[in-house]
Symmetry: C2
Subunit: 116 residues, 2 copies
DNA sequence: CATGAATGGAACGGAACCGAAACGGTTTTG
DNA sequence: CAAAACCGTTTCGGTTCCGTTCCATTCATG
């Protein structure tokens, strides 16, 4: 089964959520950063810099810098791969999970408010 | 009636749309810029710099600069209010409407792909 | 009119991000 | 082993965005 959504509803939903994000004090992530964070938390591990760069079709430095920013926020953590020490494995954190969870709740709440 | 969405679906939806935006060649707007654009196209006119600044809880220069950027993209246009010449009325454009419409279609399409 | 309030914009310095190239550390290859 | 390939990071120069402050124009008020 799938979610049926009309264009006007979709746009209204996006607007409402965006408004909350813009107005909120929450550390505002770039579109790219948010995409990376959601991918880390939704797609199955392991996650590497190279893998994320390919999935988002961006350069590696973009991923590295995004991880710097989000690492400072404690939303993700980095660990050397003991098997292949060239790799860096990106892992989830409690803070990151809370942020993502809260974000999902906002979307759900705003979706529930949509009038048909 | 309302849209029923589970948190995991909401997050997946956001991720899929974000991925398209990040990967796409489309001129990527800031979170703020997108919120402004959607507000202009969804909320009833007239729209002024001050009004938008209050609605988004940001400073006026933020709106001015966003309008500069989106004006260069032809997504919005500015016109002096003939009644009160201090005001600037922000109006929609064909290009902006197409951009918003296309964005809504992306959300709808990704929502339809969501498995329950 | 003259004064003050309101509106949108400009100016300034600082911070964040970007693309491209180059760099160390690690593993694979020949 | 030496050389090549791979991975993530750093560096560089340039662009964009930001917050704050200040300014020109226009309207309301006495």
């Amino acid at each position: 089964m799938s979610i049926h959504l009309r264009p006007s509803q979709a746009l209204r939903l996006w607007q409402q959520v965006s408004l909350i994000e813009v107005r909120g004090k929450a550390p505002d992530l770039t579109e790219r950063q948010l995409a990376i964070l959601l991918t880390i938390y939704l797609d199955p591990p392991p996650h590497t810099v190279r893998g994320l760069a390919e999935k988002l079709d961006v350069s590696k430095p973009v991923i590295t810098r995004a991880l710097d920013t989000m690492g400072a926020l404690k939303f993700v953590s980095r660990h050397r791969d003991t098997a292949d020490r060239r790799n860096v494995l990106i892992k989830r954190t409690v803070e990151g999970a809370l942020f993502v969870e809260r974000f999902g709740d906002v979307v759900v709440a705003k979706a529930a408010e949509l009038s048909l």
